[in-house]
């Protein structure tokens, strides 16, 4: 079942003519000519679509919070700042099929009553920005953007905004600050963007994938979307698969397939690269807890784990993780967990905006301490120190970057403490090139 990527490999799908030939812009026709904004919102609510950027908050509910004071403009801002390590699905979708996003932007803007909308794309994807701008121009030329779209009386201007290289701008209030031409420091909430967002006007910020899905929902109805998936994990999800698998790439899965199928089926990742075995997975982007092979495949109660919001988080952080952004990073037995954790700790240290002391100082501490462990200069007390620092960051910052920085460190120690201890106790072995700790009796699952 493919909703977003059904035609993504069709040659020329980036052009409006080919896109329309494959059913493109029917949702705009239907929504603007036959539905009211409230009816569109109602379908999105019924679909159960949840925010695909990582938080998983119901999209329809987020829309319903939008304040609508008379005479004040409202804005839809698309979050295309995709920067969570392991995640490259929005990059892929916008690059291959820009009109999929633009169509969703028109439908969603109509539902929200926004007459100006922005797509905030991370600056590193400048070539994607050019692709989007070209596609937007095509949409203007065909009367799908601008004044009185398709004679419906609805006006919409759509612009692309470039970021400048800052992970924090994926946090919605930091993104709005950035869009106002400022440093990306997250705002205190409340007020939420739905009340005071871009230029203090009511604003909805949604991820690329969430917005893109709204066209299918308009065409086929919210109920049809809700029939795909399991329970509260409705619809399809783009998963960015990277690491030691045979077929890295972006896959659109119906939510609810097993993790085992996703890793080993030829339809998806195609299994672990030849001659190697699964050691660990980071299932939802760098910030979610890493899980060892046996825990990612099976829940603590012995059930096969599913690719859903609920099943991946089953067992809490003791034995579970999160679906997050769908950044699925697979590691085989050659992976040094300490080194991998170091790259994540260094990432969050680099990307902390510096506004809140626990995050600004704590990410630096974690980076420094893991680095000295990796370099064979670790101290016995360092592991507990890391756990302590992570605990003191978590929940004590304005935005979730603090949590995102703390979780990968505390989870790596929770599940791979012996690897950290080995680095500290045997620096002469651990600092050999390519050295990886082998747990006594370890037989990594196939």
């Amino acid at each position: 079942m493919k909703i977003l990527t059904e035609h993504i490999e069709v040659p020329g799908i980036e052009t409006i003519d080919v896109y329309r030939k494959h059913g493109g812009y029917q949702a705009v026709e239907k929504a603007l000519k036959k539905m009211t904004p409230d009816e569109v919102t109602e379908e999105v609510k019924k679909s159960g679509l949840r925010g695909r950027g990582g938080a998983g908050f119901p999209v329809g509910m987020k829309w319903s919070f939008l304040a609508k004071p008379e005479g004040v403009p409202r804005y839809l801002v698309c979050n295309a700042d995709e920067s969570e390590p392991g995640t490259f699905k929005d990059h892929y979708l916008m690059w291959k099929s820009p009109h999929t996003l633009i169509e969703g932007m028109i439908v969603s803007s109509f539902a929200l009553g926004a007459n100006t909308s922005y797509i905030y794309v991370r600056g590193e994807l400048m070539y994607v920005i050019h692709i989007l701008e070209k596609a937007i121009q095509e949409a203007y030329d065909k009367g799908l953007l601008g004044k009185n779209i398709l004679g419906s009386g609805y006006d919409l201007d759509l612009y692309v905004q470039s970021g400048g290289g800052a992970y924090i701008c994926g946090e919605e209030t930091a993104l709005l600050e950035s869009l106002e031409g400022k440093r990306g420091n997250p705002r205190n909430k409340p007020p939420f963007p739905a009340v005071k967002g871009l230029w203090q006007c009511p604003t909805v910020v949604n991820n690329v994938e969430s917005i893109a899905a709204t066209s299918w929902i308009v065409n086929n109805g919210g109920d049809a979307y809700a029939q795909i998936g399991v329970g509260r994990s409705t619809g399809t999800k783009l998963i960015s698969a990277s690491g030691h698998i045979r077929k890295p790439g972006v896959y659109e899965i119906p939510l609810g397939i097993t993790v085992e199928d996703f890793i080993y089926s030829d339809e998806w990742c195609g299994g672990i690269r030849d001659g190697h075995k699964l050691k660990a997975v980071v299932a939802g982007g760098s910030s979610v807890p890493i899980l060892p092979a046996e825990m990612i495949l099976t829940t603590a109660t012995g059930e096969k784990r599913l690719m859903t919001y609920e099943s991946l988080s089953d067992g809490g952080f003791a034995t579970g993780t999160m679906l997050g952004s769908g950044g699925f990073i697979v590691m085989d037995e050659t992976t040094c967990i300490v080194h991998n954790t170091l790259t994540f700790a260094r990432f969050y240290h680099h990307e902390s905006c510096g506004q809140c002391s626990p995050c600004r100082e704590g990410t630096g501490w974690m980076d420094k301490v893991i680095k000295r462990i990796e370099l064979g200069q670790g101290r016995k007390e360092d592991i507990d120190l890391l756990v302590d620092v992570a605990k003191k960051i978590e929940g004590n910052t304005i935005c979730p970057l603090g949590d995102a920085a703390a979780w990968p460190v505390s989870a790596a120690i929770r599940h791979f403490r012996d690897e950290f201890e080995w680095h500290i106790e045997h620096p002469e072995l651990a600092t050999q090139p390519g050295a990886v700790y082998m747990r006594p009796g370890a037989s990594w699952s196939n």
Partner: protein
Amino acid sequence: MEGKNNIVFPAETLDLVKKIIARYPEGKQKSALLPILHVAQAEWKWCSSEVMDYVASLLSIKPIEVYEVASFYTMFHLEPVGEHVIEYCRTGPCCLMGGVEVYDHLKKRLGVETGGTSADGKFTVKEVECLAACGWGPVFQIREKFYMHLTKEKVDQIIDELGK
């Protein structure tokens, strides 16, 4: 409007700047800052204080409002750079694919450390965080172009090609 040291956009770039400013409501022209800094960096390769002062004058904002932004976002070079800036991803997924070894090879080949510029002024090497191309790693970026599935041999080819 003209900056110091003949820092001024060509006429057609000024038209682009005007178009960018028109994307925002009246009085919200500061929103154009990041897009225009990208345009300025494409023109002058790096953001000197003269360039930033000029951008401030175009947007009718204070120079400090440009400095604080340019120094926050890692894409803006605040010091002179070589002809080609190689921005090399150093984050986990690329490392899993052998990114560290390829990076070491790149630095050795150019005789530079991170942040350095090769003796011939052709290449500056910078480490960057995740470029959202994890399934195609290891990756680096030069200007708008992504170079993916890097190996030592591929790096040599790219350097040979661009170093001509």
